[in-house]
Symmetry: C4
Subunit: 237 residues, 4 copies
Amino acid sequence: MTTPPLANRLAAECFGTAVLAAVLIGSGIRATGLSADGGVQFLANVLASVLALGMLILLLGPVSGGHFNPLLSAAFWWSERRSGTGLTTRELGGYVLAQLTGAVAGAALANLMFGRPLLQLSGHHRAGGRLWLAEAVATGVLMLLVLGLVRTDRARYAPVAVSAWIAAACWGTSSGSFANPALTLGRALSDSYTGIAPGSVPAFVLAQTLGTAGALALLPLLLGAERGAVTEVAVRP
Amino acid sequence: MTTPPLANRLAAECFGTAVLAAVLIGSGIRATGLSADGGVQFLANVLASVLALGMLILLLGPVSGGHFNPLLSAAFWWSERRSGTGLTTRELGGYVLAQLTGAVAGAALANLMFGRPLLQLSGHHRAGGRLWLAEAVATGVLMLLVLGLVRTDRARYAPVAVSAWIAAACWGTSSGSFANPALTLGRALSDSYTGIAPGSVPAFVLAQTLGTAGALALLPLLLGAERGAVTEVAVRP
Amino acid sequence: MTTPPLANRLAAECFGTAVLAAVLIGSGIRATGLSADGGVQFLANVLASVLALGMLILLLGPVSGGHFNPLLSAAFWWSERRSGTGLTTRELGGYVLAQLTGAVAGAALANLMFGRPLLQLSGHHRAGGRLWLAEAVATGVLMLLVLGLVRTDRARYAPVAVSAWIAAACWGTSSGSFANPALTLGRALSDSYTGIAPGSVPAFVLAQTLGTAGALALLPLLLGAERGAVTEVAVRP
Amino acid sequence: MTTPPLANRLAAECFGTAVLAAVLIGSGIRATGLSADGGVQFLANVLASVLALGMLILLLGPVSGGHFNPLLSAAFWWSERRSGTGLTTRELGGYVLAQLTGAVAGAALANLMFGRPLLQLSGHHRAGGRLWLAEAVATGVLMLLVLGLVRTDRARYAPVAVSAWIAAACWGTSSGSFANPALTLGRALSDSYTGIAPGSVPAFVLAQTLGTAGALALLPLLLGAERGAVTEVAVRP
């Protein structure tokens, strides 16, 4: 496989993050408009978001890797910086910029589709130690999952496994499992169900970053020190 | 693989579109009869519809391609018109006719199964720029997905990926993500939950067509200029 | 692959049908006990039932075929009666007896687990032309799906495709999509959510049988006249 | 495939059980906080739990087998004790200890993330013959499923098949389908939706053990006496 040109890869990251942000934000608006039950609203919002995520990873994974998440791109850059097979620092910068741009565009698209101002600031404050712990846990397991699948040569399962984890984490943690700085930015730009006040963003992103660092530290213990050490799916030890 | 005879292919497109339309319309009637919560109604309607869609693409894909959507057939006809591997113009006409016939038959079947007049006109007006934008987005991403999977030799994932996107788009856009002129016609013929007033149909179909055109324009940027340029599933770039 | 001994196959059909009937009936009791919304009740009942069904087809398919449905066994017996590769008439009798026994045992198990009399008769009358039409449609498409997957050498997809269709049909038809004479019998033996009055059973089974006959007639038109005529998954025609 | 070092395997079992327990307990707290409908609460709790379970089996299966369940480890130890391919008695002890430690840690993490005391005792009494019967059935089928997939060389399906069964059993049985002594312990340490009073734990674990013994006895009848006797997925017998 030849790596596609950087322009295509950046277009794929930008487009994918935009569609993901639009569905995430839009489904929150639609769910709160349709249902009177908070559980049904969140079920619909989570379901729509992870189905879009899985589809986008499947479609665009062969082009750009299907990251749509600056911390995931950074984790690949970091973990493969010595082998020369990962992103260069310059490519990483391009990826992050494309993802942030896409998230803003996706928020604007959701606002447009639902008849709201193009960009607005969310007034939903989200802060506190237990939410930051939750963000670190949700992001950390996400990184372990993706890096672990790659390390065991099973990246083909990423579309369904990542979607499964994000859905589980949305319900199982107290923060709603943002787990992605680009989407956190996008959410700040729509004053709706999935929103987060701009002032709450930095601490969320810091918690996500700490979770990613923890995952990088844990990875060798859980999945072996190098790629290919563990390769086969088995239920028996 | 030898292409099956055109008669079988047209029968498959007609039958599949009929079953799909019947489940789409029928599940809307059943969901509004069973639940008092608008979110639960839409969850059930969407779930039933995309599960039927995925099953039908899987079962009939090897026969006719499993399009069940005139714009999808048209997009294949257009994108492969030079290579001679796609539908001829005459075959495209047959496909569209079979799909429209199937959608009408499916609407009639749903009406019959739920004790309604065989065919009736929906009084549900759906119009406005933000709905049309939503239709263009939902349809455009659908086309990018299907054409992109074919272009990267991964059409085997279409049953699950198409279902995932349609479910995500139903919740993430403001229009309900019809994304299919044949089903739009079928919905107009049952005055129930999933209905659309006949007068609202042309603008919806136009928006879907524009979304399809946009997808054909974007495809080379996102997934490479020719078939086989990108072929392997990978999470890393 | 050597066909397993008949005793194992009958044990598998009996066990699988029992587990399926117990989950179908039990989840109906649990759902109506937990939720006040009719849509949520049916979502939970359908979800639990089709997940059990898919798991059982996967687990026991290699042993007995994973039918759990007298009409499906009969359809295989009929469609392969000339090639000598299907069930013999004597084997068919064993299968049907094992399935009916399993369904009764499963109903008893569900009643026991939920503190009800071991066996009881349902008082839920279900009758009328539109329900019978719905049963014929749900059963017919089920048969087309299973026979079609086998005919195109893709039986490995049966666990997920059959589950998808049954879930879609439960919502998309007006009868609740029993689509299985053994489960129809089991449902008659618990006076709870999924029940059917004994007097309503014969017409339901007749409608299911007519739907099966229709599927056998339609199969050559949709999927080719002989096994292997259509074999590859493709989205393009 | 070389078996990974025992330290990695124990870390994987401990980590996986902790994440699973945290999502199971956390999603129960979140669901009861968000929804007023008992059915929606349980749908969300079950969905989150089985998605986390499937993801963890997929990710960590190649390392430790992905058991996260003392009875499953014990069943492998027992069924392969003569062939020398399974766990040794000492390894089994390590697995069980790691799983119990993980379950306690996961309960503590859930309590922390939702602002509760680090560890607390549940006051939710769960007892009675029909609940114990339900636990035996849910656990027994789980063991048949996992051992059966291994015996037919299809362990690769475990992530999705185990998740499907647990979700089905949660709804189809009257006990909520704990089916795992480690998670039963973890649930006792959070006084929330998924809790179980410490006094109810021993009988639950005994019922789970009896169900496991029953599965080991039934396995040869349903899936053949030795590994490899049944190997191919087929819908036809």
